[in-house]
Subunit: 137 residues, 3 copies
Amino acid sequence: MAYQETLQFHTRGRSTLEITGEVGRVVQASGIDTGIAHVFVQHTSCSLLLTENADPAVRHDLETLARRWAPDGDPAYRHDDEGDDDMAAHARAVLAGCSASIPVGGGRLLLGTWQGLFLWEHRSRPHERRVVVTVCG
Amino acid sequence: MAYQETLQFHTRGRSTLEITGEVGRVVQASGIDTGIAHVFVQHTSCSLLLTENADPAVRHDLETLARRWAPDGDPAYRHDDEGDDDMAAHARAVLAGCSASIPVGGGRLLLGTWQGLFLWEHRSRPHERRVVVTVCG
Amino acid sequence: MAYQETLQFHTRGRSTLEITGEVGRVVQASGIDTGIAHVFVQHTSCSLLLTENADPAVRHDLETLARRWAPDGDPAYRHDDEGDDDMAAHARAVLAGCSASIPVGGGRLLLGTWQGLFLWEHRSRPHERRVVVTVCG
């Protein structure tokens, strides 16, 4: 059995946006007790990020590291049509990934106490992002 | 319900090979309307890559960055039995990942307009690669 | 159909621990012939790692690279409440990922010959880690 919804989020440029609650509501609507919740961004320049939900400094430091892993405006890039953050965003999306899968048990997301799911916008400017949530069980 | 096929691809050494169409055909053959398509390489030195399908410079630049993330022939490596690209390939496979999951809706892959699925060969020499596609719904 | 078990592992601090056998036993207990085995750590400072199971030097070299990707005690970090390895562990968890999905066929994990599944502890001190295994088919 599978249940699916497409959610839409507005990002304010490079930043993280917690979406744990929205995905949890889809799991509840699915009526599925045990299975997997699969979350997928239909884009190649933003990511889904499962990380600590308590101290926002964690996400600040991840941003610091991401700028090292894939620097903006690197002179080696050939793909720069949309600016200095264009190729960096694609590379960050590959490293952090464009999907996340979370177990479902007892009809809810089985996350650890400190785990939150975030949409990680890698582009500098605000974007509309589509997120497909599929619950299988 | 689950449907499964194993595909085989020949790679021409370090490079990317688009396999979106082949995976889409498995989804169609499954007859599953709504669910998840799970794609998995049975190897530890190549990856699956979901990235922009339009400008090939994106994949060129990802290759440039991957060589920084895991340099070939780094003097710190202990694992070098099969040459300078051996350990680098394993590390790149960890970073980019050996599986990809894509939502299925209306009987087809729910990819964004600019998303393509690529087999990313990390070894220098050509290889035969087995890819298991499982559709659950 | 979905079957789920939560496993618990004791780690001896930063290191890798093979859990392929334990996950295989859950697949067997599920009675599911064809589908996906989803493995998930309920933590943000350890990872699941699919890599070569033969030469332990591969995991030694991955550790060497991980220390470059996310150095311990980097002066740029703001999140350091639990010590020098705190933020580095979160960053390594993002890069290597906190879940793994493996195809199931003929009632067993369809891993390649050289693939093993490891729990990768990123914290310096030993921890108890919960791993949720969900088999869908």
